[in-house]
Amino acid sequence: MTEKRFYRIGSRPAEIMLPVRGDVPLARRRLPFTRRHLLKWRSRLNPKTLRQERWLADKKPLWWTIALVLLAVSAPFLSNSALTVASIFCIFTAINLLWTLIIGTAGIFSLATLAVVGIGAYASAALNVYLGLPWPLMFLAGGVAGLIVGGFLALPSTRLDGLYYALLTMGFAEICRVFVQQLKPLTPMNGSINNVGSFIPRDWFLQRPGLLLGFAGAFVLMLLALLTFRIVNSERLGMLLQTAREDEAFAEAVGIDYRRARLHVFLISSAGLGVIGAFYAQFYGSISPAVFSLDQLMLLFAMIVIGGLGRAEGAAIGTAIVVLIDKGLLDLGPLRILLVAAIMLAVTLLTHNGLAGARNQFRGWRQRRQSEARARRSEKGGEVMPEEAIEIEDKQAIYYRRFQKRLRDRLKALITPELIEEHRKRPLGQHSDALSRVLNHFRRGEVADKYAILRQSGQFHAYKIVAFSGVRGAPPRLVDDRVYTDINEAYHAVFLLRVNDLMES
């Protein structure tokens, strides 16, 4: 016997299915000290092939790993300028990830991201240059500075509405810029602090090994930011806030203090941004007030908007696009900003939530189209509504019901007064083709509610018509009280009843 062929319908055949070995016990590794698994494996029995199969239900970690490994491996082969672009990409991705936490997870529309980064950078750079703080401790100093500023900024965040808070934070950035420029003893060089100690040795600066080391540092920074994003967004805090996003009143009613959770996320992100600030100052060896400027903030906003608010891959994709255009295509001149603006415009007009949400949006659109097509198909001859069809596990049943419907339609067309007359004359024996078809259909019917002729006990030639209950042990019910004295008449009466049922179905 040949192997049964299945037609490739839907997206399931494209899924990579791994076999499950029945002779080996299932072993799933957990991350140490947690109950988390690294990958989301799922398995089920395929009802058609009757084989157990296993697939990766969430492939995002896979894509992340591939992309990150590609970036890390290709870095040593990049040119000097490309390496700088890659490093800047890593730094900005880290910033955007933490910003995504603030905007997406905590839902606080803060525009003070770069201001916090700048304050972390200035605080750590000043401590390093004027007080001789060694560079490893600069990260700590930056983090503490970010935490303090975050705490200060968080105070009005629960009182103010989205746009008002956005304006307030924008004003805060401007205040920082003016303040830093006016603080002469701290920043003698037109507002900037130079010669900041760094993890890159002084004589390697702007040399090949220095650039490579800088990229490695930025890459590690991005990985740490990703880890922070994962821990905050998808663990306890993120779950609490997700509930609050869906329904604030409900979240409060079940005892979730979402304002506090928001504050926590904000503080964690601010501390992280401060650390990034310290890194920023070390990476460039200096820090200037340009970090507080509105243009830089707008560019950062463009990144997060193009990628899509609230998702890690959105932050990475948007940053990649904007950094590539802004820093990679330097010879385009002012046209770069125009290009960024055009992309921003197109993405916002066409997608609901940036490029990261485009896939889901496309799937939703395709699903809608498919269900519309299904509805059109089932209007013609279906016994099964499209909504119902999704719920029926055994798809054979759907086709069986559809077949029965079409069969009944054909048989209804065959029933004519002549056919009934033919049956009345000779209920048994040889019939015409049409009558044979109709009778065969009746005979194949289900037992439940099938008609039968019951001879009345103790009487001669007395028949009544009953209908089976279809349940073993439950007696048949009487259809009507009429007593037939001729068996052929009774046969014909049953036939008429069934024709009646057929015509009504």
């Binding site: 009005p156 009182r159 103010l160 509405d161 746009l163 008002y164 304006l167 307030l168 924008m170 004003g171 805060f172 401007e174 205040i175 003016v178 303040f179 420029q181 006016q182 509105l294 707008m298 906003f301 463009a302 908007v305 608010l309 002012p334 046209l335 900003i337 125009l338 960024v340 603006a341 055009a342 921003m344 415009l345 916002t348 007009l349 609901h352 939530n353």
Partner: protein, 309 residues
């Protein structure tokens, strides 16, 4: 420090910021859109007026010579061109930022992003087309000073204040008496109810965007009497207008007027205090607004509960 000079300067600043802020506030309350391209309308109007005045200068010189009539014709031309260019820019904003997405999910944020992108793009196009050099608009109110009741003021300051009062009065009157104004006010009070009463969102939004664009254009011409026209000249008025609109409570016209007057005077005072000076102006304004917003989270406007949230 001369108090009267500060007073006049503050009032003229307040007038221009008020034009910007009311445009932003009106747009937010009627169609729920934060227009970040308001600065772009401002800059485009400035350039359009400059181009028109450059083209018409020899013509007017030949026709009127250096007379009052020539200045008046020039004033009419620049103001008209500025308002027209602003209105065209408003129509562009309507076509790009309102029409395609006004019934889609997440409209307020998406329109904000689109207008921001429009702003970026416009500034770059202007920079590319006209170059970074600043342009000088003709002095439509003439130059000179006049002494009124012991207060000395420059012609352009008086002209700005008077023109703003005139324009705002006309706009508010139009909103009060005309059919379209009634529709816009209905939209401001209750968008859903307005739609149910048969007011088309699309046909109400177009005049509103064009009107606010024209207001930005007029503000550009008036402000260009004191500063130059440059591609980025729209950024500061945009920020000022936005802050004032927020200070007054978004969607509240009296709040915006009050906010404009307060901020205008605050700027003039800070700029006039010797040890603070011009570089602390923005610093001081933002500090003031932050304090106000922390005390009154929804701005100054007391009418806010009736307006769109």
């Amino acid at each position: 420090m001369d108090l009267s000079v500060t007073l006049v300067h503050g009032l003229s600043l307040a007038a221009i910021y008020g034009l910007m802020a009311i445009g932003i506030s009106l747009l937010w309350s009627s169609i729920g859109m934060i227009n970040m391209a308001h600065g772009a309308s401002f800059a485009v109007a400035g350039y359009a007026a400059w181009a028109a005045s450059e083209a018409a200068k020899p013509l007017f010189l030949a026709a009127f010579g250096k007379t009052i009539a020539g200045t008046a014709a020039m004033a009419g031309l620049t103001l008209g061109t500025g308002a027209l260019a602003g209105a065209m820019m408003g129509a562009l904003i309507y076509l790009l930022a309102f029409l395609p997405i006004h019934d889609k999910p997440n409209f307020p944020v998406r329109s904000l992003i689109v207008t921001l992108a429009l702003n970026l793009a416009t500034v770059q196009v202007l920079l590319w087309w006209f170059g970074p050099r600043q342009k000088n608009l003709p002095k439509i109110f003439g130059t000179g000073k006049v002494e009124v009741l012991g207060i000395s003021a420059r012609y352009d300051q008086i002209g700005t204040i008077a023109a703003t009062f005139l324009i705002l009065g006309l706009v508010l009157l139009w909103l009060r008496v005309s059919r379209k104004g009634l529709e816009i006010r209905a939209m401001m009070q209750n968008p859903e109810g307005a739609v149910l009463s048969g007011i088309s969102v699309r046909w109400t939004a177009l005049p509103v965007t064009m009107l606010t664009g024209a207001l930005a254009g007029l503000a550009a011409i008036l402000l260009s009497q004191t500063i130059f026209v440059s591609p980025t000249s729209g950024a500061m008025p945009l920020i000022k207008g936005l802050t004032i609109a927020l200070l007054g409570g978004l969607g509240s016209v009296p709040g915006a007027v009050l906010g404009a007057i307060i901020i205008g005077f605050l700027e003039a005072v800070i700029g006039a205090i010797p040890f603070l000076g011009q570089r602390y102006v923005l610093f001081g304004t933002f500090l003031f607004i932050i304090v106000v917003l922390i005390l009154r989270p929804r701005g100054l406007g007391g009418l806010l509960d009736e307006a769109r949230k």
